[in-house]
Amino acid sequence: MNATASSNRRSYEQELAPHVEKQWAEAFIVELRLQGVSGKNLGAALAEVDSHCADADESARQTFGDPAVYAKSLQLPTDPANSPRATVIRLIPTAVQIIGFMTLIRASPSYVSGDPVAITAGDVGMFAILVGAVVVFAWQIRPLTNLVLRRPVVATAGLMAVMLVMLLPLVLWQHPIAEFAVLSAVSFGVVFLLVGTVWEVARVRTEAAEEQISRPLDSSEELERRRRFELRMNYLRIFIFPVIAAVLIGATVLLS
């Protein structure tokens, strides 16, 4: 059995800290990520917990208590690369992807009919609310993620309220303000989707090493193996938009 096969069966947290309960490690990582602590400092803090639990033969919860409280008590420095401004900038390639994706979906009824794609005032309003919501989320990522983790019912109700507000312009303002030929709309969507996808792949490849959680005694092989695993997870997230767009467009054309 090789190391890769064995590590595939363990969760990411168990691989980083095999002597720490998975849920404890997960909550500890989330809390420090929310605080904007670098992957290097996070890895060192988790490795020390793992080392203590292995020596003491005790659970992390027994000796370190609540993971979020312990994470806060360490008062680790915030990495400038994780500032709210940097987080918003990091989201730009995904936003470009989403614009391309939504354009292609919006234009889908016209693929077969060949009618022009009408953009309504409601489309613009919905898009403005969406951009605003993403910026607010990125800027207030810590309190909002705390809300999702600690009061999921309130968070879900809040998300549904935002979605309802996003739909309101579509219902209220249905008059077209511009029309585009199908070819123009599809070209715009494809270009944005491709540019966003390539940009995000490049960003993830460049920044993956900086964002990666590394333990002080990790060998370069271990780091490289985990970097590849994290890259694969990121690729799944990135390529989901072009794949869904291709499937939806294909299905629309085939079923018409």
């Binding site: 060192a44 020596d55 003491a56 000796t63 208590g65 312990y70 008590s73 360490l74 333990r215 005694l217």
Partner: protein, 117 residues
């Protein structure tokens, strides 16, 4: 043999920093070993949630230097070594503590005793 009592928590909070510095004065050591030394010294169990934030503050304050070394067949360990600044703090606080306990003892000696009937 030193026996462990249930010391009042506020006493432990006050003395923990000094005791950890004293353990570190014996040479480079790691978190679990510090906690074991505190327990065998009679201080009781000091939880990781209390000890490691204190060690982190020592590190930030330049009282200790740290180094990660491979463990004995287990995960790596972070070793803490007292710096010259840490030794100065230990000497200063030890002197203060002795003066403080002496003063407390004097006060207790002169406290009025309950009359026996």
């Amino acid at each position: 043999m030193i026996t462990t009592q249930d010391w009042p928590a506020e006493w432990l909070r006050g003395v923990l920093e000094l005791c950890v510095l004293r353990v570190l004065a014996d040479g480079p050591t790691y978190g679990y070993q510090i906690s074991a030394r505190l327990a065998s010294g009679g201080l009781g169990t000091v939880k990781g949630g209390t000890l490691y934030p204190l060690l982190k503050r020592f590190e930030e304050g330049g009282r200790v230097q740290t180094e990660w070394l491979p463990g004995d067949g287990g995960p790596g360990r972070k070793y803490y070594t007292l710096t010259d600044h840490g030794r100065e703090v230990l000497a200063e606080r030890s002197a203060q503590w002795r003066a403080f306990t002496q003063m407390t003892e004097t006060m207790l000696e002169h406290a009025p005793q309950k009359e026996q009937t």
